[in-house]
């Protein structure tokens, strides 16, 4: 080539890019201690496992009485046979004389028997989780014209997005639909555009056809993310409150929200409760729920963006929830002690995490473990703060009072309480309950609690001295309040505005 082309050719550009990357990479020289570090970490991990494995073996052996001998006999010379046949009862291994005393021991029953986890997972049929969990529901849906009314369930992609919407994770779109190996199921990758401008996958929703005939719907069987997997409970586990949940997260420091959902209700039954993974174990927590009768449920784990950018990853396993009445033990005292949100008699910790734009997060660290959080819309200019935690309605669970904004001469307070195991913002007639305090020469507002009720008072003045007004008594029901009675209360120089709630100061 005698003359260079006026513009660099595509290939030239690519070659120079490759050269630059290679040259840059060549300057990187690893420390040389890599293998040592990796081995150390593997050993540490292995030692932890060694702790666990003998416990299993020993406790089984203890339950068997003479099981230790039995196990030893089995390890001699029979390994090949064993590996080829799990169920083989080791003929000729143990001496029959060692056996008869075994089952009579009453401690045999609670021994930690090997769980079904060891069996290959492929043999499990897909478990319908949402929106149908039985063929009866599918038939009813088909009979009632479901295919015409909810055509989204006739397509794997829209079934997956409908599921995300149900879990209140909106704005996801289908990035990919792939065939599941060995069956008619599909793996639907959902994702969205994130803060960096790129579209990222958030979850892979596994769907399968369920039922027969025309208008056979797709159902969601489980969901997982590339770097977020629910490790406990297992698929279709039968659970009772309280439920231990755990996840495995690829990466370093993720806060994972765990929640329990029912198939039929578009709000979480319990949670989300947030947990961080430690260096050794993944995030885990416990969820308590109340349920009048057994129901199909889902354990949902989600990773929130630290940048307030929504959910980064979502996983779900279907479970069976048995009936559970009340929180374990119920509240220990009515009213709850000052500072006790979950009614266990211990003070819980609450804090405000300021958000980036017009929002803050109330974070409550429960004394029993786990963390709950809820977003609050706060005025951009306001410095949100927690006034305190007081059991305003004397139901044994404390309400959290948070200042979220200011008027010209007033302060606005919102109320958050634990409902069905999750934090909820208290609303009145569909909008957040805002308690107003303060005022001026023309009006005055206050609030407080008395005799197990929250109240608000509001008065107006023509002379700046006398404030005739109305005191309204509010009653809680879950996360809502309604006005149950009103009375006229006039505030003047000798009668201060009614206020105060336990130890609260505002």
């Amino acid at each position: 080539m005698t003359l260079p082309p006026p513009e660099r050719s595509s290939r030239d550009v690519e070659r120079r890019l490759a050269d630059i990357l290679l040259a840059e990479a060549d300057t990187v020289v690893p420390s040389g201690e890599g293998l040592t570090r990796i081995r150390e970490r593997i050993d540490r991990r292995r030692n932890r496992l060694r702790w666990l494995r003998p416990t299993l073996a020993v406790s089984t052996a203890a339950a068997l009485g003479v099981g230790g001998v039995l196990a030893l006999n089995l390890t001699h010379g029979t390994t090949d046979t064993l590996r080829s046949d799990h169920q083989r009862p080791a003929i000729g291994g143990p001496s029959p004389t060692s056996v008869p005393s075994l089952p009579s021991s009453p401690s045999a029953s609670p021994s930690p028997a090997p769980t079904p986890a060891g069996r290959p997972a492929v043999a499990l049929p897909p478990y319908p989780a949402w929106p149908f969990t039985s063929i009866r529901q599918v038939r009813a849906w088909q009979a009632q014209g479901g295919p015409a009314h909810q055509p989204q369930l006739l397509d794997p992609g829209t079934t997956a997005t409908a599921f995300a919407d149900f879990l209140a994770v909106p704005g996801l779109r289908v990035l990919d639909v792939a065939d599941e190996p060995g069956g008619g199921g599909k793996a639907v990758t959902l994702g969205r555009q994130m803060a960096d401008g790129a579209v990222h996958g958030v979850t892979v929703v596994h769907v399968a056809r369920y039922g027969a005939g025309a208008g056979t719907p797709w159902v969601v069987t489980r969901a997982g993310a590339y770097h977020l997997k629910i490790t406990s409970p297992g698929l279709a586990a039968a659970l009772s409150s309280p439920v231990s949940v755990a996840a495995e997260v690829d990466g370093v420091h993720h806060s994972i929200g765990f929640a329990l959902w029912r198939r039929t209700q578009a709000t979480a039954l319990a949670g989300p409760t947030y947990a961080m993974g430690g260096a050794a174990a993944g995030p885990r927590t416990t969820l308590s729920y109340t349920l009048p009768k057994a129901a199909a449920g889902m354990v949902v784990a989600s990773e929130q963006s630290a940048a307030g950018d929504g959910i980064l990853a979502l996983a779900m396993v279907p479970v069976r929830l048995s009936a559970a009445s009340g929180a374990p033990g119920g509240p220990v005292a009515r009213p709850a002690k000052n500072g006790d949100v979950d009614g266990d008699g211990q003070e819980d910790q609450a804090a405000i995490e300021p958000g980036t734009s017009g929002g803050s997060t109330l974070v409550v660290g429960l004394s029993a473990g786990g963390e709950q959080r809820i977003s609050l819309a706060t005025d951009a200019s306001a410095k949100p703060r927690i006034i305190g935690i007081e059991d305003a309605d004397r139901d044994g669970y404390g309400e959290i009072f948070v200042v979220v904004g200011h008027g010209a001469a007033t302060e606005l307070t919102e109320v958050v309480r634990l409902v069905d195991g999750g934090l909820r913002l208290v609303t009145q007639s569909g909008s957040p309950l805002r308690l107003v305090s303060g005022g001026s020469a023309t009006h005055l507002d206050s609030w407080g609690c008395t005799a197990g009720s929250l109240f608000t008072w509001s008065g107006r003045s023509a002379d700046g001295v006398n404030y005739p007004g109305t005191q309204s008594t509010l009653r809680f029901s879950g996360s809502t309040v309604t006005t149950v009675s009103t009375k006229d209360v006039t505030v003047d120089a000798t009668h201060p505005a009614p206020s105060g709630c336990g130890l609260l100061q505002y």
């Binding site: 890019l17 490759a18 990479a25 593997i42 073996a57 196990a71 075994l102 590339y226 770097h227 690829d250």
Partner: protein
Amino acid sequence: MRRTGVTETRVVGVVDRREQSVQGANQADEAVTALYGAHYRSLVRLATLLLHDVGAAEEVVQDSFVAMHSGWRRLRDPDRAAAYLRQAVVNRSRSRLRHGKVVERHPVAPPPDVPSAEHTAMAAVERAEVLRALRALSPRQREAVVLRYYADLSEAQIAEAMGISAGAVKSHASRGLAALRIVLEQT
């Protein structure tokens, strides 16, 4: 005697699993050593291009080796361990970037001061510019570009390592290249 059959089977299960896990552990140990020799350096370099931090890159690669070791029995095809490692490194680097853990504690050393022909100086300037532009790409674009032009992987291999479709790889790579091309053509 029927009932004892059940208890025996249980014990068999325990022993059997222990036996298998010991074997698996040995295989995994050997694999870690072999794969370390063959791939550690190149994986650290790959992660450094993604993270621009040698220390963080080493941690990410070490994490990936430990994860591979513990997941050894789940690896369906041990011959694919290298692909698994690459995937883990890309994924962990991304998650690290996403959570802002990389604070340039160990920034990559500047190119060594070579006795300068003007050509070399220009090359160094160009390289710095291109690397700066590389850092400005979205994580996916950067991954696609690095896996393609540094690691020299096929589209299918990149798709696997990034956990996305081949079509998405194509679009990330071409957008990334387009952004870098502006710099490459200017210098």
